[in-house]
């Protein structure tokens, strides 16, 4: 059998293992080992497995992942999500749907210190869902808002998905992070517009809240000042080349720890929880990255990515039409597969084709993250929906999926905007050298 046929069989077997619930990282390492062993030799396969695992875990450039995850976990343990929500609530609470808007603003703010969608949804959901319930918000609107707005966690930097994408494609982490800023803010704006439209169509979904005085508003905003400083320190440091990505993550985590200690909101127990959560999240990401590295080596010897790149670039279709097909594949795949699994499986296959078509890899990274954002709220494998369900146990899962629908439309509009105007993502990175 030719290497290409073996490669295709490998992809099919991998998807089968995914569907049979084998942990994603284990499945990729296992199939990568089998495929590489078959195409080269069993000894070479075992060698590559052992070395890929060890060198992935010991890679300095990959230590950026635990540091940014740590930053988000400490920020959550230090009550930063609550302060962000409170600030949003004081500013927007008096508007119809104001609490939902405050949730989106809070998520956008928390996304600036946390790089994971489910961590963002969990942190903000714990704070905002009881408040929305207290003010008689419709369950569907409240839970849908948290699930969708939580997905901003991976678009507004820092972002675990940008980190993994950047490492896999050897793109600058700093450029990827900065590329997510404008699309993230525009998407947050689109989410707020979705709330306005939904509430205008059915005012009973979201009653008007209490009005806050200007002094209360100023107090609320001053409570989030240090988070803005922390975000600016991390992103500016990365943008201007003061910090390597790992140092930026470390500075962010140390800064979050310092803020938590000064404000006396981070207890010893809270710190230990942050450490445990960091280990669990980091471990699950890094095992997938290590597995994807083994699988990537198998794909390389199967020559599938090169052949696909040649084939795609020779297609008698405009490059944008090919991109639309790829986006569609990601959209469908994202419904059934975890975001990280989807990215680590497809990037080694599609990335050479994207480069061959002449697309900007940074722009493609932002598109991928946007599509992944949709994947985390679409049925049946919408992880954020399950996170919200874990907090709002009395709300049926179908109600949450229904509540997510207006935000999904907003995300589709955002993908369209970004495809029509790539500069939105590429403008800021074009100003950087790092």
């Amino acid at each position: 059998m030719s290497p290409v046929v073996i490669g295709v069989i490998g992809v099919v077997v991998l998807i089968l293992f995914f569907l049979l619930r084998m942990p994603v990282g284990f499945a990729m390492a296992f199939v990568g080992l089998l495929g590489f062993s078959y195409l080269v030799s069993p000894n070479a396969g075992l060698d590559i497995l052992v070395r890929d695992m060890f060198y992935t875990f010991s890679s300095y450039s990959l230590s950026v992942i635990p540091m940014f995850v740590f930053m988000g976990c400490i920020a959550s343990g230090a009550g930063m999500s609550k302060r962000l929500y409170d600030a949003g609530y004081l500013m927007l609470g008096r508007l119809r749907g104001g609490l939902a808007m405050a949730t989106i603003a809070g998520c956008a703010g928390f996304a600036a210190i946390c790089g994971s969608t489910n961590a963002c949804a969990a942190a903000m959901g714990k704070v905002s869902l009881p408040e929305m319930k207290r003010y008689d918000y419709d369950d569907s609107l409240a839970s849908g808002t948290v699930a969708a707005a939580g997905s901003l966690g991976i678009l507004i930097p820092p972002s675990t998905i940008f980190l993994v994408y950047g490492i896999m494609t050897e793109q600058s982490i700093g450029k990827l992070f900065i590329a997510g800023v404008f699309p993230g803010l525009i998407l947050a704006g689109l989410f707020v517009s979705a709330v306005v439209i939904v509430c205008a169509r059915n005012p009973s979904l979201a009653p008007i809240g209490a009005t806050a005085s200007w002094k209360e508003k100023l107090d609320g905003v001053s409570g989030i000042g240090e988070m803005l400083v922390l975000f600016l320190l991390v992103i500016t440091g990365l943008f201007l080349g003061w910090f390597s990505p790992t140092q930026a993550g470390g500075a962010g985590a140390a800064g979050a720890l310092l803020i938590g200690l000064i404000r006396r909101q981070l207890t010893w127990g809270g710190f230990l929880t942050a450490v445990k959560d960091t280990l669990r999240i980091t471990c699950m990401i890094m095992v997938i990255v290590a597995g994807a590295t083994v699988f990537g080596h198998f794909m390389a010897v199967s020559k599938i990515p090169l052949i696909l790149a040649d084939w795609v670039s020779a297609l008698p279709l405009p490059a944008m039409a090919v991109m639309a097909i790829i986006v569609f594949i990601y959209l469908v795949g994202g419904c059934f597969m975890d975001s990280l699994a989807m990215i680590t499986l497809t990037i080694p296959i599609f990335y050479p084709a994207i480069v061959a078509l002449g697309f900007d890899p940074i722009w493609f990274g932002v598109i991928i993250v946007l599509i992944v954002e949709m994947g985390v709220v679409t049925p049946p494998v919408g992880i954020n929906v399950y996170v919200v369900k874990g907090i709002a146990r009395d709300v049926p899962i179908a109600t949450i999926f229904k509540g997510v629908l207006p935000f999904l439309i907003a995300e589709l509009i955002m993908v369209g905007i970004l495809m029509a105007f790539p500069k939105i993502a590429t403008f800021l990175p074009s100003l950087t050298t790092y």
Binding site: F54, G250, L257, T282, F336
Partner: protein, 169 residues
């Protein structure tokens, strides 16, 4: 007979659980040290022009401990990402059988990893391989990884036996 076996399995599970818990604590210390080292390195490099010597080496090796030592606990908590879609739609009996096969494949992977990582550690030890800047011997970390893989194998074994017991019940 069955009761006796279950009692032995319970004891075995407690030992494996304690082991994975203990390794996770070591991983926790490593990640806290990693953060402290990076913070000291930034302050040293930016304010005093004196970065921590071999900081990159040490952070990388702490990464091995932080991640490698946490794999077993993450598996014990079923924390590794799985695609939960198709399997939930099939009957419980078939699901148990599929789970047992998947656990067995995972065990096979980690047995191979344990064996070959030990061999790799021995190679590094005999060649005297050290880290790039600080000359830290690499083999203890590789042996440590092999021990962690063995623990993951044991965790998977316990989970597999539990599923097989459910099938036979």
């Amino acid at each position: 007979m069955v009761y006796e076996m279950l009692s032995k399995l319970d004891r075995f599970e407690r030992v494996v659980d304690a082991l994975s818990h203990w390794l996770n604590w070591i991983a926790g210390v490593a990640i806290a040290l990693m953060l402290a080292l990076i913070a000291v390195d930034i302050i040293g490099a930016k304010l005093f022009r004196w970065p921590v010597p071999g900081g990159i080496d040490i952070v990388g090796l702490l990464g091995v401990v932080a991640i490698g030592f946490a794999i077993a606990r993450t598996q014990a908590l079923r924390g590794h990402i799985e695609v939960e879609f198709f399997e939930t739609k099939i009957p419980q009996k078939i699901r148990n059988f599929v789970d047992a096969v998947i656990y067995a494949l995972g065990m096979l992977l980690f047995v191979l990893l344990t064996w070959k990582t030990c061999e790799y550690g021995y190679t590094l030890q005999s060649k005297g391989e050290v880290s790039m800047t600080q000359g830290i011997p690499l083999y203890p970390f590789v042996y440590g990884m092999a021990f962690c893989y063995l623990t993951v194998f044991l965790v998977l074994l316990v989970q597999c036996i539990r599923v097989v017991y459910r099938i036979n019940k």
